[in-house]
């Protein structure tokens, strides 16, 4: 018996793998760290339920185990709600119930036979860490990327060491079986599917610091969140990707870019050395003179240099006086000029121009609140864009002087975030909307003399912000938001735990382009192009962010489309849009220096950024 509501929830899983990192200090789904396969995490169980509902797999031994090992502890509800608003526990209950009924009815449980290849794979990694169970395979066969269909692998293996990886790759080469590598078993871009062997690196999780050399060596199962946490404990910072993305996977894929790329750069800037297993199973390091030249960039889609088994990542110093600031703007061009100015003057560390859509999602713990705030920022406060910066005390002083009076400092940000539901109060919105003064309304909000009044209006507290979520989660959210880091712009930006909220309403389709920051007309042209293509097909769309790079000479721009990946009509729209976007951006890149579509950097994330930011031809 399939529960339709549970199926719908299961189909909405975004595959962000946030249930695989303990980012809210709730602990993890108990079976995950023990069994490592995606099927033993909430994300995998969501996929399994969808697969059962759509009759894509039988009830198998592994599926029964996956259902049995769910303790209904409720951790996944908290974790998933925080970023997507979904409540997976209902799906877990439905999965367990379905399996219980299946077994009670004495229906068969599928047990796949071991074949010769699986036998050899198990000899390499151990019986437990190689499987051909269809339930396990299915959790590596699909993702929300709407343009890739289901592709079932024949085997999934979880190697435990570099040597095991080398042996598996050599075997695949010998038997001519294709393979794909999954850093954290997660995927959102449809690129990591194969009909052969999936290597899930989740068991390779070593982190070794070499602080004398300002670096840390990580194995391919280590996530950005975990590494940042360890680095932070020791007083350092790394340039980290999305929290659930693995460090090695992210570097190899596109190079790590973030708001910190303003000072830390991207691609080859992020590491000191990397270790790979090539496609024949031979191990090499990038710092070997005989290693392939992966520092060069080719403006084409090319395969990765091999399977990354270690990245030696740079550690960056942190000063105690770093804080975040937000500078509001009513105009995009001015916001970009301001961010560029900061980058050129080497004032800020992390730096970005954010749209109201981003900031409202980042700050709001519920979709409903974020939609209200999205309207209130421009409509009531006059804020259309925000320049976000992390800077030390000297830097912030300079930013304040450059910006004038209107700056949202860390204290005001905390007030706004903890009082956010009251900012959405109708009466406040009504009064602010009718305000007729010449100064933008945000200047009043930011004025230091207004702080006591703003505090009185917003009544900021963990309880206030917790009031915007489901009743049964309020106590948890109140405890969560009592933690200082949850309202600390520096922490939030280092760990990036709220960025997945951008997909809360619908699956996000992110387009990333390197752009010349000294040519605002090019940037505006690209934004207008994305808006036009989306608008013509009634696809939801919005500006994402822009981060200056290389002292303000270049920037990375993100523009986002939002689609319901479970809706065939929306899939069709995005497919049509893609046929226009590719040639348009290729044409633009060919005639405009400084424009490079990130798609071409895929698998070339180890290259020197200069080689794709400044393509000499």
């Amino acid at each position: 018996m399939i529960d339709e509501n549970a199926r719908k929830t299961a189909a909405q899983c975004r595959h962000y793998a946030m249930c695989k990192i303990d980012y809210l200090e709730t602990g993890l789904c108990p079976s995950g760290p023990e069994r490592h396969y995606v099927a033993f995490y909430p994300q995998g169980r969501m996929d399994l339920y969808r697969a059962l509902a759509e009759d894509l797999i039988p009830v198998t031994e592994a599926l029964v185990e996956a259902a049995d090992t769910c303790t209904l502890c409720g951790i996944c509800d908290k974790q998933c709600h925080f970023v997507t608003g979904l409540r997976p526990v209902k799906v877990m209950e439905a999965l367990k119930s379905h399996v219980r009924e299946h077994l009670a009815a004495k229906k068969p449980v599928h047990r796949p036979k071991e074949d010769a290849v699986l036998e050899r794979l198990r000899k390499i990694v151990g019986d437990e860490w190689a499987t051909n169970d269809p339930a396990i395979l299915f959790t590596y066969a699909d993702d929300p990327f709407p343009l890739a269909g289901i592709q079932m692998p024949r085997y999934v293996i979880l190697p435990g060491s570099r040597d095991e990886v080398a042996a598996v790759v050599a075997l695949a080469d010998e038997l001519k079986i294709p393979f794909a590598v999954r850093g954290n078993g997660g995927s959102v871009f449809g690129f990591v599917f194969t009909e052969g062997i999936v290597l899930d690196m989740n068991r390779m999780r070593k982190i070794e610091f070499d602080t004398d050399n300002w670096c840390v060596a990580v194995e391919p199962g280590v996530t950005s969140f975990e590494l940042q946490k360890e680095a932070s404990k020791r007083g350092y910072r790394v340039n980290a990707a999305e929290p659930a993305a693995t460090v090695c996977g992210n570097i190899v894929c596109t190079g790590t870019f973030s708001t910190w790329s303003n000072v830390y750069g991207t691609a080859a800037d992020g590491f000191i050395d990397m270790e790979f297993v090539d496609r024949k199973g031979k191990v090499f390091r990038l710092n070997d003179k005989s290693a392939p030249n992966v520092f060069a960039f080719d403006h084409a889609m090319i395969p990765s240099p091999g399977v990354c088994t270690k990245a030696v990542v740079k550690l960056h110093p942190v000063t105690e006086d770093e804080e975040g600031v937000l500078v509001p703007f009513a105009d995009f061009d001015r916001a970009v000029a301001f961010a560029r100015d900061l980058s050129q003057r080497r004032i800020a560390l992390a730096l970005a121009v954010l749209g109201g859509h981003y900031i409202s999602n980042f700050m709001s713990p519920s979709r409903e609140l974020s939609e209200k705030i999205r309207d209130i920022l421009p409509g009531v406060l006059g804020i259309k864009y925000l320049v976000f910066a992390v800077a030390d005390a000297y830097g912030r002083e300079a930013i304040k002087k450059m910006a004038g009076t209107a700056v949202i400092d860390s204290a005001l940000f905390r007030t706004l975030m903890l009082g956010l539901p009251r900012l959405a109060d109708k009466e406040l919105a009504g009064i602010a909307a009718a305000y007729e003064g010449d100064a933008p309304p945000y200047e009043i909000l930011c004025s230091p003399e207004m702080r006591p009044v703003v505090e009185a209006v917003l009544q900021p507290s963990p309880e206030t912000i917790a009031g915007s979520v489901d009743d049964d989660l309020r106590e948890f959210y109140a405890r969560l938001y009592a933690r200082p880091e949850m309202t600390d712009m520096v922490w939030l930006n280092m760990f990036r735990i709220v960025s997945a909220r951008m997909s809360r309403r619908k699956h996000m389709f992110a387009f990333l382009i390197y752009v010349p920051l000294d040519r605002i007309e090019v940037i505006n042209g690209i934004i207008a192009g994305f808006a036009r293509i989306a608008g013509a097909r009634k696809i939801e769309h919005d500006f994402g962010f822009l981060t200056p790079m290389d002292f303000g000479k270049r920037a990375i721009l993100e523009y986002d489309y939002y689609i319901d990946h479970t809706d065939p009509a929306e899939k069709k729209k995005i497919a049509e849009a893609m046929t226009e976007i590719g040639p348009w951006l290729d044409g633009l890149a060919a005639k405009t220096k400084g424009v490079t579509f990130l798609m071409y950097v895929f698998s070339q994330g180890c290259s020197r950024k200069e080689n794709f930011l400044y393509r000499l031809g």
Binding site: E427, I431, Y435, E436, D438, I444, E449, M450, P452, Q459
Partner: protein, 405 residues
């Protein structure tokens, strides 16, 4: 200047026998809707140009309004709604409908206007008050209409001191983009109507509030806004006292008095002279219709009170009605001695745009309008406590507009 399209006598006749067909912009606005309803109730035929709003169609918006006015089926007979937007070429009307309207319009009443003051909103104000007017005047030129009624404002007088005549003016400066665009609009309307041979009447109300008899209103800016802001502040601190321990209220000197009144220490800067010129919507509507029907030759007319209300009185009314103490008017010198506290600074910033209208000592001449209104016994009522209470009670009941529709 071209020949007039029709004689004053014929205009009067067509109005009298109700054969004149009106085309009115801004039909869902505060003034426009009242004029439209006034005309319909007098048996005129009126076509309203109405913008759709979000998912709400123009017709639905108008139906909501018609219900709000409690119009009878009979009164609605002469009503027709056309979807459009004055800021768009061809008024955003379907071309076929537009062509038909050109032939079926005798008189145009242009009420659509942006009343935003802020320099930040200049683009929006210009788009409506200048660009929109240009489109409406294009329509007028191309139509068979013979008369243009232009709803303007007494504040086209801008920074003029003293007497403000009932005629076209060119003041030395303006307080805001609204005044500036409305003043330019009068000149544009006069030029276009002169060239095309249309009769022209310009109506210049001062600040219009709700119905003096019922308190009902559709718009809650101007005199409502400072009261609303004060009540908002009062409610925040009252809540803090009753539910949050009262620390934030104590910091601001806000307290609950023994009798239950809220003490809100708020000094409001006022000038020693002048006040705010207020006319109720019922008076405005009656005056508009009387001027329209009584002046087939056109002209420029002030629809004002003439007895500016002192801010001190409005503060007194507010404190009385809403059981507040501590709010008082004072001169600028007092702020030099004791600077504004955060509450006072917030209040000042929120209402500063209304400053020129709260300290108004301009004298709007009314000889021409009074020549029509006086003999008909149309008199602007004094804005007294009774009217204030009715209007503010209605505003609260209507959620300052949020609960109207």
């Amino acid at each position: 200047m071209s020949t007039v399209r029709t004689s004053g006598k014929r205009i009067g006749k067509k109005r009298e026998d109700r054969s004149a067909r009106f085309f009115l912009t801004g039909g869902t606005g505060f003034l426009g809707s009242h004029i439209a309803v006034g005309l319909l109730r007098r048996g005129y035929r009126v076509t309203l140009l109405v913008r759709p709003s979000g998912a709400r169609r123009a017709e639905d918006r108008m139906l909501e309004l018609v219900d709000w006015f409690g119009m009878s089926e009979g009164d609605r007979r002469g009503l027709r709604v056309v979807e459009g937007d004055i800021t768009l070429p061809g008024l955003g009307i379907e071309p076929e409908v537009y062509r038909r309207l050109l032939l079926e319009t005798d008189e145009i009443i242009h009420c659509a206007s942006s009343t935003a003051f802020s320099e930040r909103k200049r683009a929006e104000v210009e788009a409506v008050n200048s660009g929109g007017l240009t489109n409406v005047l294009d329509f007028a030129r191309g139509s068979g209409a013979y008369f243009f009624h232009h709803v303007s404002t007494a504040f086209v007088a801008g920074m003029t001191a003293g007497a403000c005549p009932e005629g076209l003016v060119t003041p030395g400066g303006f307080w805001n983009a609204y005044e500036e665009t409305k003043c330019k609009g009068e000149h544009a309307a006069a030029a276009a109507c002169g060239e095309a041979g249309l009769g022209l009447t310009i109506y210049r109300p001062s600040i219009v509030y709700g119905d003096s008899r019922t308190g009902r209103s559709l718009l809650f800016n101007a005199v409502y806004y400072p009261v609303r802001t004060a009540l908002f502040i009062r409610d925040i601190y009252e809540k803090d006292i009753r539910e949050g321990g009262g620390r934030k209220a104590a910091e601001m000197g806000v307290r609950i008095e023994a009798g239950g009144s809220i003490h809100l220490p708020l000094r409001i800067e006022v000038a020693s002279e002048g006040g705010i010129d207020l006319v109720p919507i019922d008076y405005f509507t009656e005056a508009f219709l009387a001027l329209m029907e009584g002046t087939p030759g056109g002209g420029v007319f002030h629809i004002v009170n003439g007895r500016p209300k002192r801010i001190e009185d409005i503060i007194d009314y507010s404190c009385r009605l809403f059981r507040m103490t501590g709010i008082r008017a004072c001169g600028p010198e007092e702020f030099r001695e004791k600077p504004r506290n955060p509450l006072e600074a917030l209040y000042e910033r929120y209402v500063e745009a209304y400053g020129p209208y709260m300290r108004d000592d301009r004298v709007f001449e009314t000889a021409r309008s009074q020549a029509i209104l006086g003999p008909r016994g149309i008199v602007c009522p004094e804005f007294d406590y009774g009217i204030f209470a009715r209007c503010m009670n209605y505003a609260i009941e209507a959620g300052w507009g949020s609960r109207l529709f």
